[in-house]
């Protein structure tokens, strides 16, 4: 099986600060990590390779330092990597990101499956997976928690829905997004890390991809970030006065008024 796994480098903390002037993330002193959901995607890709043979290509769009993350992907079992990096790609929303990734994936010969994490922990949209499938003209299955069986050109998978599971058969190639229940990602191995250190990480630019410049980066984005802000926390607490009986009576009245009881 020829598997493509999409990875994104994200800030490794949930306490990200925002610059109030520019409305962008303050990235100083923040350690970047692989988007946690993507680690499950990579692990599943590597497990499928171990089960059925083939290779895993890890792909990411991001700044040059995302190279380090792709080395980690090699240490974790990826066979090759592609970094899509170009100033022209900067500022991309999910649409432009999906377009760019799709153009790159189209250049990978004979791929059977594209695996994404269910969403990133920075943007949190969960849109790139489905948009990518749309760009590639492939079926998309979200929230996959188990890959049951793969035969030539066909795959049986299980995905999580609100009140249970759905068993789905899909033709291949296809795009899927996975949830964390699907596996426990392995720890890196020493031999993997040693291999990763010497690996060559090819960088593809807009020129290499031959993309339409108006379709990538900020220019290719259908959305604009107008403002990022923390919602103001407003607490309407009220302390009930009087002795216990008064308090109970007043509480019941309030609950009745607000139609809770």
């Amino acid at each position: 099986m020829n598997i493509v796994v999409c990875l994104k480098q994200v800030p490794g903390t949930t306490q990200v600060k925002i610059n109030p002037q520019t409305n962008t993330l303050i990235r100083q002193d923040i350690k970047n990590i692989v988007n946690p959901f993507d680690t499950y995607a990579l692990e599943e890709g590597v497990r499928l390779k171990e089960r059925y043979g083939g290779k895993v290509t890890a792909i990411s769009m991001g700044p040059p330092q995302a190279e380090g993350m792709l080395r980690e992907a090699i240490a974790a079992g990826a066979d090759q990597t592609i970094l899509l990096s170009d100033r022209a790609f900067a500022g991309a929303d999910t649409l432009a990101t999906a377009y760019t990734l799709a153009q790159a994936i189209k250049k990978i010969e004979g791929y059977d499956l594209v695996i994404c994490g269910r969403q990133t922990i920075d943007g949190d949209t969960g849109q790139v997976g489905p948009e990518l499938a749309e760009e590639l003209g492939l079926p998309f299955i979200a929230y996959v928690n188990k890959i049951e069986e793969t035969t030539t050109g066909q795959m049986r998978i299980q995905r999580m829905i609100e009140e249970g599971h759905e068993l789905i058969e899909t033709p291949l190639p296809a795009v899927i997004s996975v949830v964390k229940e699907i596996n426990v990602p392995r720890l890196p191995s020493l031999r993997g890390i040693i291999k990763a250190k010497d690996a060559i990480i090819p960088v593809w630019t807009a020129h290499n991809l031959g993309v339409d410049p108006s379709m990538v980066g900020l220019d290719g984005s259908a959305t604009r970030v107008v403002k990022i802000f923390f919602p103001e926390r407003v607490r309407h607490g009220e302390k009930l006065q009087g002795d216990l009986e008064d308090q109970v009576a007043s509480l019941i009245e309030k609950l009745r008024k607000s139609r809770v009881i």
Partner: protein, 385 residues
């Protein structure tokens, strides 16, 4: 402190720490409580290639040295000594194969040991022979095509769980230590069974068990080196492995120090965190000095071993004795800083104190090793070195 570790050593240390914190920390209290063998963690260590570190590259290892091994043991022991010793015992049990084994023995056993598929154990101690290794009673009688083992080994780390055992037995009872030989015994060999599993004070995740040999036939190809070399091989093995016990001791002491500092920072008495009290500060500072000194000695000795030095008995004993005494002292002080909480099993320091004790006892009791060091001093003076 800058210990000038090379690329591979830094890598190995970081990876061992990652495994310790992500995989061992969440289960260590449970493993201790239930005295459960840490198979899942051994699998993690195997998948991460950490068993390859002590196996030469020709046999699918990564050819690391004594220092690489010490770094791993220290990091594992910082979180759980029981897990650390289980890993380290496999390095110990395979030393004779690596150092004195035939090409066939190496080819047969080392790739599986490197892959972590088969654990090993080293079996020397008996009921009558602990510190006095010359009082062995297990015999290996020469018969056609091999040897027949009879006797019982006691307190064998990894016993029952390991697949490969290096067993020291007497091939000639009349020659004393010169009559001992080392044999490789596979688990499942007819006549080889397991006895009582020990209930221990500390390192409770590790398995400690009796090995029983009743007319157990060992083919000739499984003797390590020549007949009569077993005692010398044992001394070499222990010289090589003692820095690892030192690293285990440094690890548990480091874990206790960190826990004590964290606790002292957040425990408020008399309106202030207790770390503001000079009495507590002095204890913590002494702990830190001791741990760092022990680490420096262990690394220096490990580097001496890796330099290919022929005679390392004295240095390796020093690393073990000093670090294990430090571990006992530092973990005891950590419990003291925790006060009543430290005595409770809800906090990790009482376990560390229990785990530390064994490092003063096994692989040569500290008293015995001090005598060894003194003997070396005397000999060296005699040679006017």
């Amino acid at each position: 402190m800058e210990y000038l570790l090379n690329e591979q050593q830094k890598l190995v240390k970081n990876l061992a720490r990652k495994i310790a914190e992500e995989r061992i920390l969440p289960v260590r209290a449970d493993l201790d409580e239930r005295e459960e063998f840490p198979w899942a963690i051994m699998k993690d260590l195997a998948d991460s290639d950490l068993f390859r570190i002590f196996v030469p590259e020709e046999y699918e290892g990564l050819g690391g040295g004594c220092l690489d091994l010490c770094l791993i043991v220290e990091e594992l022991s910082r979180v759980c000594s029981g897990v650390a010793v289980t890993y380290a015992a496999s390095a110990l049990g395979s030393f004779a194969i690596r150092q004195f084994g035939t090409e066939e023995q190496k080819k047969k056993y080392l790739p599986d040991i490197a892959a972590g598929k088969r654990l090993t154990a080293f079996a020397l101690t008996e009921a009558s022979a602990g510190t006095d290794a010359t009082a062995l009673r297990t015999t290996a009688e020469k018969v056609a095509g091999g040897y027949v083992l009879n006797g019982t080994k006691q307190f064998i780390t990894n016993g029952g769980e390991a697949e490969i055992y290096t067993v020291i037995a007497l091939t000639d009872k009349t020659k004393g230590p010169r009559g001992a030989s080392a044999f490789l015994v596979d688990k499942g060999t007819p006549g080889f069974s397991f006895g009582k599993k020990e209930k221990k004070l500390g390192i409770r995740a590790s398995a400690t068990i009796e090995l029983i040999f009743r007319d157990c036939f060992i083919p000739e190809v499984n003797i390590v080196g020549r007949e009569g070399m077993g005692f010398i091989q044992t001394l070499h093995t222990l010289d090589w492995s003692r820095p690892g016990i030192g690293a285990q001791a440094v690890g548990v002491a480091q874990g206790a120090l960190e826990a004590a500092v964290d606790y002292a920072r957040q425990r408020v008495q008399f309106g202030h965190p207790i770390i503001a009290l000079p009495a507590v500060q002095t204890i913590l500072a002494d702990m830190a000095i001791q741990v760092e000194a022990a680490r420096a000695l262990v690394y220096a000795v490990a580097r001496t071993v890796d330099s290919g030095a022929k005679k390392i008995t004295e240095e390796s004993a020093m690393a073990k004795v000093f670090s294990s005494d430090v571990a006992m002292e530092v973990t005891t002080k950590a419990v003291q800083i925790f006060g009543g909480a430290g005595y409770m099993r809800d906090f990790p320091v009482e376990k560390m104190m229990r785990d530390a004790k064994i490092t003063q006892i096994y692989e040569g009791a500290n008293e015995m090793l001090r005598i060894t060091i003194a003997a070396e001093l005397r000999k060296r003076r005699g040679r006017r070195e």
